[in-house]
């Protein structure tokens, strides 16, 4: 049994220590907003926050997390930067198929958490780990800048 702090709640789950957080979230806790894309931390679709930092949940074993606070796409809108990013995404219609966007939004929110006014190179560095097959990158870049400027 493993106890995880997810979106402000403790969840004790029957999972082996080596199970990646992604599958604990999706298959056991039932939070399916975090997506499976590659399984090898190459695409970023599975990005969540652990203590406010963006991590790839597909390669993070649940046994290695301990008491740290996990935030997923389902709750990131409760944080000021998460809400700003979500609004900025909708304001300029970033989203196409949407499958990668949970991860994009988690990465973008983590970026604003540590760099309130990111420039292009900050955005490149923070977002290059998130693949979007629909090609929404141009709008993602603009939406991050808009979110940073918003109150």
């Amino acid at each position: 049994m493993v106890t995880l702090q997810i979106n402000g709640q403790a969840h004790t789950i029957d999972a082996p220590d080596d199970m990646p957080l992604l599958w604990a979230l999706r298959d056991i806790v039932g939070l399916t907003g975090t997506k499976f894309g590659c399984g090898i931390a190459q695409c970023g679709a599975c990005t969540v926050h652990v203590d406010g930092k963006a991590v790839r949940s597909c390669m993070l074993p649940v046994g290695a997390i301990g008491n740290r606070a996990i935030t997923t796409i389902e709750a990131v809108g409760d944080t000021p930067n998460g809400a700003k990013i979500q609004k900025a995404w909708l304001d300029i219609e970033v989203v196409q198929c949407g499958y990668c966007q949970s991860g994009q939004i988690m990465s973008a929110t983590a970026l604003l958490n540590r760099t309130p006014n990111p420039d292009d190179s900050d955005i490149d560095a923070a977002m290059a780990g998130n693949i979007c097959r629909c090609g929404t990158y141009v709008r993602i870049r603009q939406a991050i800048k808009n979110a940073a400027k918003s109150a």
Binding site: F36, W89, Y99, Q101, G135, V138
Partner: protein
């Protein structure tokens, strides 16, 4: 052209237009009966679509639309809702788009026979038909109000889901209130569509209806299906097409609790309580495959076959003038090649299947072909179509991958061996290695120029595998032609007096083929636009001017090409090894002119700096969605040009995941400016054409920057390095 038009609806009256039924919440719902006998009935003769199938209005005025086309990011839930809502005259904020159930009779596009989302056909197929459906619904509401008030229908108007009687103090009845009465009325014999000036949603960049749930994790894709007792399976199909299992050693897997092995001739699955358990079980198996003949195939052999294929005469797809005579002059020959490509949508293939003890089957997943999905399950199980129920979900990317149903068949075969529902999930490796690949092509081309630098003769022979043949189980093509493979080549926009286009079917061994975003024009436009650049150079002309000189018959393309040149600063000086390239195309009913600016480092690294695309897609429904599709399509195409290459060794696909089947990332993405020009021409398709516009403008920019012509994609950077590294 005025959009006001009469459309006959005779035949509608023979069918109950609106039906009263009890909604799930217990309230009365005015709606249209789905399923059962009606779902199987043919559409009324004079009506391209059966309007019963599209609109439901609840007592509280809430409206739901059954959307026949699948939402895979292209915004079709919104754009088709715009068509319906505008003519029905309801507020889009009150509209819920829902996935229509599988039915070719009810939901096939008026321009197709099957319910299918592909080929950039949604708006082209449904533009007028769904407006008629909306207008029919509106007319029913007006008639119901006229009856209730005892006035003439002509004296009434509608606004935002209400019928208003101005002659009697502006009294109002809501569509919700009118629904039960409207349900009992005969259908209108004809409907009048709104004049352009009265359109409220069509042609406007309204907010998308599907995106709010895609930024908070609520949107449900096929892979997100959950239900009691659901098991998860991970699969491994034979890594060689046509191969069989020789041996499975499951001794290590058996030591893990709660797992089930399914071994089916050419397919192995491990079923477990969750993905991770099943994946660990799969990793613990030792599977030996017998690959057969295909296990000897390498990419080199396929390229040799394509070269040979391109040297044979093909089936003639188009011939004009005297080609042989025209090519006797100073002839220019070139070949341009395209590799195999995987689709790699972000949502890996998956399907959830419950094969039940009562002989029925229930499916949950995302598909571009709803009815073909039902058929695939029915065929795999040997049960009638009526015994299969399919719940369609949002697609985490389609790009043509989900026009195929191999994932349905495989999932059903596994589910047959499982007690209860099972979600079968492809790992990314399995998704990339078991795709239905975009065929590799070789374009063998020849052209001659007149003394004043105009193209006189032109031959274009396309050698490659046929997706049509693959889809129809390898049946011989009619007259040897595959219409998709020559699309874009036969409708070349340039005026050339002597021209021939041939298709030389050359089937690859050891790879399955499928449609890929951009389809035929991806290949044809790449070849044509590369050739045009080479010919411009030979003629000593500017690439844009050279194209404009040949666009006398295509005023729409000519206009946007001139605009693209202006907006991109074409002709303005740039630093060394920095240049612009152009692509002009007419594909899927839309025109796009694109200019891409790149710089190429001394080491051969390409930086795509800026892309300008001017789009004439005819009448628009949602211009911002058009811009988004072109932005995304350009990057989809450029990703392929920069990185996409599926190769075979010993019959096995060598690429496995995003580390070796690379995608463009945000740090590589250029600034993209898309301008959608106003037009009153018929609507064009837009999901695909951005994809074919990317690679040619990119390689032509690389040519201008380095003098190196790229003859095969993806671009080999070693050809571009100005200094060889020891």
């Amino acid at each position: 052209m005025s959009m006001s038009s009469k459309s006959g609806t005779a035949g509608l009256s023979r069918r109950k237009f609106l039906q009263v039924s009890t909604a799930a919440g217990g309230g009365l719902m005015l709606g249209f009966q789905m399923g059962g006998a009606l779902a199987q009935a043919p559409a009324p003769k004079k009506y391209v679509l059966n309007p019963n199938a599209f609109i439901a209005i609840a007592r509280d005025g809430k409206v739901s639309f059954q959307i026949p086309q699948e939402e895979m990011g292209q915004g079709v839930y919104t754009s088709l809702s715009q068509l319906l809502a505008d003519e029905l005259d309801v507020d889009l904020a009150n509209v819920t788009p829902l996935p229509a159930p599988p039915s070719d009779a009810l939901y096939a596009s008026p321009k197709g026979r099957r319910q299918s989302t592909g080929g950039s056909t949604s708006i082209r197929g449904f533009y007028t038909a769904l407006r008629q459906v909306g207008a029919s619904g509106r007319a029913m509401m007006v008639q119901a109000a006229a009856q209730q008030w005892g006035v003439s229908a002509a004296s009434l108007r509608t606004e935002n889901g209400q019928v208003i009687d101005d002659a009697h103090g502006g009294r109002k009845l809501s569509y919700g209130e009118l629904a039960p009465r409207a349900a009992k009325l005969p259908a209108p014999q004809e409907v009048t569509l709104k004049a352009d000036k009265d359109l409220k949603y069509i042609g406007k960049s309204v907010k998308r209806l599907d995106t709010p749930d895609k930024v908070n994790g609520k949107a449900q894709y096929g892979i997100d299906v959950r239900m009691d007792g659901l098991k998860v399976a991970v699969i491994a199909a034979s890594p060689v097409v046509g191969g069989k299992i020789a041996r499975v050693d499951d001794s290590k897997m058996k030591a893990m609790p709660g797992l089930q092995l399914v071994a089916l001739d050419d397919l192995v699955a491990v079923v477990g309580p969750n993905f991770w358990a099943a994946k660990k079980g799969m990793d613990a198996l030792a599977i030996t495959w017998n690959g057969g003949e295909n296990a000897k195939i390498n990419s080199d052999a396929i390229w040799r076959d394509l070269e040979k294929g391109s040297q044979q005469k093909g089936a003639i797809a188009k011939e004009e003038g005297d080609v042989e005579k025209s090519l006797k002059a100073d002839r220019f020959d070139a070949a341009y090649e395209m590799p195999f490509l995987a689709h790699a949508p972000m949502e890996p293939q998956n399907f959830t299947v419950h094969v039940k003890k009562d002989g029925t089957c229930e499916l949950w997943g995302g598909s571009q072909v709803q009815t073909a999905t039902v058929k695939a399950a029915s065929d795999a199980l040997g049960i009638p179509l009526e015994k299969v129920t399919f719940h369609n979900y949002m697609l985490g990317g389609g790009f043509g991958r989900r026009l195929a149903t191999d994932m349905v068949t495989k999932s059903v075969r596994v589910a047959q061996k499982v007690d209860g529902p099972v979600k079968v999930i492809w790992t990314r490796e399995e998704d990339i290695q078991q795709d239905m690949y975009r065929p590799a092509y070789r374009n063998a081309m020849s052209a001659s120029l007149t003394k004043d630098g105009k193209i006189d003769g032109w031959t274009h022979r396309i050698a490659g595998g046929s997706v049509i043949a693959a889809i129809t189980g390898g049946k011989p093509l009619k007259d040897g032609l595959d219409g998709d493979a020559v699309e874009g080549a036969v409708n070349i926009p340039y005026a050339i007096p002597n021209l021939r286009v041939e298709y030389a079917q050359t089937e690859p061994k050891a790879l399955n083929l499928g449609w890929w975003r951009g389809v035929g024009p991806n290949n044809a436009v790449f070849a044509i636009e590369s050739m045009m650049d080479d010919l411009a150079k030979k003629a000593g002309k500017d690439p844009v001017a050279f194209r404009l000189a040949h666009l006398g018959n295509e005023p729409r393309l000519k206009a946007i090409l001139q605009m693209a040149a202006e907006k991109s600063g074409w002709g303005k000086p740039l630093p060394a090894r920095t240049a612009r390239g152009v692509c002009a195309q007419h594909a899927f009913g839309s025109y796009i002119a694109t200019i891409t600016e790149v710089d190429v480092t001394e080491m051969g690294k390409i930086n795509v700096r800026r892309v300008t695309s001017i789009v004439d897609a005819g009448r628009t429904v949602n211009p911002d969605t058009i811009a988004a599709q072109v932005q995304g399509g350009l990057l989809f195409g450029m990703t392929a040009a920069l990185y996409g290459d599926i190769t075979l060794k010993d019959g096995r696909v060598q690429q496995r995941n995003f580390n070796d089947y690379r995608m463009m990332r945000i740090n590589e993405a250029p600034q993209i400016d898309v301008h959608v020009v106003p037009s009153t021409e018929d609507p064009g398709g837009i999901g695909e054409p951005g994809c074919s516009a990317g690679p040619p403008s990119l390689v032509n920019a690389v040519f201008a920057a380095t003098g190196v012509r790229i003859h095969r994609l993806p671009i080999d950077r070693t050809l571009l390095a100005s200094r060889k590294i020891a």
